[in-house]
């Protein structure tokens, strides 16, 4: 599938009409949008989005372990949403979503996101954090 390309930048998301986004890159783009969408914000698609942002705003992300917990749920919610629309013959379909918190500071959570297709194509990198304590 293809779609309008979104450019995820520091100042926000911009439309990039220079070229469409296709295949697995399109899946990843849509998945990223879904992770950041609050669940329940779309009345006709109640399964769209995740609770990650809502939980963060509610103050339930108290440490990196709780952030990891909610990030895992967000990844699963995204995967289950995609399963509702996927074509099982499509090798570009989303097969695995991994969200890993890498930095948890006051007011800010940084996540690594990695997406794997049915054909094992991977987009995204997961950092390895070493605890030297």
């Amino acid at each position: 599938m293809k779609s309008v390309k979104l450019s995820f930048e520091e100042k926000g998301v911009q439309f990039d009409f220079s070229a469409p986004v296709e295949d697995f890159a399109n899946e990843v783009q849509t998945a990223m949008v879904n992770i950041a969408t609050s669940k329940g914000s779309d009345p006709i698609n109640p399964d769209k989005g995740t609770d990650l942002l809502k939980e963060a705003v509610a103050g339930r992300l108290i440490n990196i372990r709780s952030a990891e917990h909610f990030a895992n749920f967000a990844a699963l919610d995204t995967l289950f949403l995609f399963r509702q629309f996927e074509d099982t013959n499509d090798q570009n379909r989303l097969a695995k979503v991994t969200l890993k918190p890498v930095e948890f500071a006051a007011g800010k959570l940084t996540l690594d996101a990695q997406f794997t297709s049915a054909s094992n194509e991977v987009i995204g990198v997961l950092s390895n954090i070493t605890d030297n304590a």
Binding site: M1, K2, V4, E22, T30, L81
Partner: protein
Amino acid sequence: MATDLTTTYYPPLAEITDAAVTDVRSRLDTYLKQGWPALDTRPGSPFGDLMLTPLAYMVAAHEEAIGRVLSDLDLENVANGTIYNCDFVEKYLKNFAVYEQATLQSSGVIRLTFSADSTYTLDRQLRFLFNEDQLFYMRLPCPGPMTILPVGSTPAENQNCKVLTQFGLDSYVVDIPVVGSSTAAILVGDEPELSELPDNLTSAEALIDFDLGNPPEGLKELAKKTRETFYSASVSNRGGAKRFIQKEFPEASAVSPILSGDAEMLRDTVNPLGISQGTLDLYVKSKSYPFQDTHTIRLNYYAQQQGSDLQKFIGELVLPEVPYQLKTITAVDAPDLNLNPTGQNIKILAQSKNIAKAPYAAAGYSSQEQLWLTIDMPFVDDSPAIALSLDENGQEYALFEISYVCDPLLGPIDATIQSLENKPVGVDTLTKGFVSARIDRFTIKYTRKPGTTVNLTNAKEEIYNYLRGLGYPNVYSDSMIGDIMFYNGVEDQIQIECIGVLRWSVADLFMPPDAADPEEDYVACVDDCREAPAIDFVNSSGLLLEYTDPHIGTSGETFCVVGIKNIAYLIDKDTIRFSETYR
């Protein structure tokens, strides 16, 4: 000019349900995939969220709007009060010649009085103007002018003809049905201006309260009328006849066509080939029913006839309208004399003008019935109580004032049905009033909760209007009386006492076609007559009487038949009484 659907038929956005939008979105997605299978339309995709979902809302609203347009085209919905765009529906109904409230035709009857018994021709364009702006014209079922003929004339067929009736010594009346437009009430006695004054015209006035022609409600009632009248064009079948009359005469309150094969039909015959000939009895009643009119007639006095004492007044009972009941008879020169129309000293004889078409009782309450009135001379101390006058031929006579009940709509409907344009081919049609069940006493026994009041005045009015307005398919029901009493404060209705008599004619005797002329040989005439049946009833089940002449096919047949399809009720408000029962 384009119609703005968003302001006329679109629902508010908040009224569009999520289920409706989801369904539309799914259908649009399937539709788009036919042309663009690779386009990502999923939730979360730019096109899916920013284009397809808002479009789904628009399409859902549009589908609802289309449904509403179709609903406005469905007159059943409009008749039930579901209207989304009044302007559109109003214009739509005009396609069926159904007009706005202000211009729907009013109708009524005007009585013209002339000073000379002569022939008059009223131009077709003759107009009657009430209150300076309410214009009426004659209801003429046939082409050409209206011809008014002298007393005793026979009106020509397929022409607009009416015959004068003598009202007084130098006074002759004729009733003219009129239609026009009116938004204000025109009441009995209102006098119009005429666009042209016929010779010898002494007065013109409204005979009855005119029907305004306005529907009780706006578009809803118009749509109801359209549904009822649109599908009919012909008088030759039951539904067509009913709807034709209702369309042409909105003031008709009840129309009941009886056809060959119905229980209430006895006129149908079988020709020598064994083929049943089509007959249609059209029973009609107007909102003006029962209308009370008064007329003065002359009756010749016969002291003797055929060499024997007779001492009777005998004469043809010619009234402007077909009588349903004679209320009072008063000798003009002896108004204090008690002349009871139902007494033994007064007899009414009836003869059918066309025995093949309307034999005996079948002619009752129709223009096919010719009536004679006979009154025994009352004596006081062996002297005649009524003074006699002598005409130029030496005939003794007296004048009598007759007060009678009629329906002014009967004549106009009959004329319309019999006109060349409307007369059904191959169907023998007879227009007549419903068979009259006269209610002489209607007493309701009831109980009341202590401390409550019962609005008997209102109850009487409602019961009177209910009984007066009944005519098939609106059939009498005791429970309706109960409802009226209940809503006026009664706790329980114990009993309805209903006493009256059912008659097929005002006549007491039916004359066969070969009967002697009563003014030449009254005794022989009466000997030839057969008695007109009258059925007394003593409870409310009498209001749903069913009766068929048991002598049909024999020499004593009278063609009397009644059932729920041709019965109606004559009642005075004062006969409705109430009796409280105390627990």
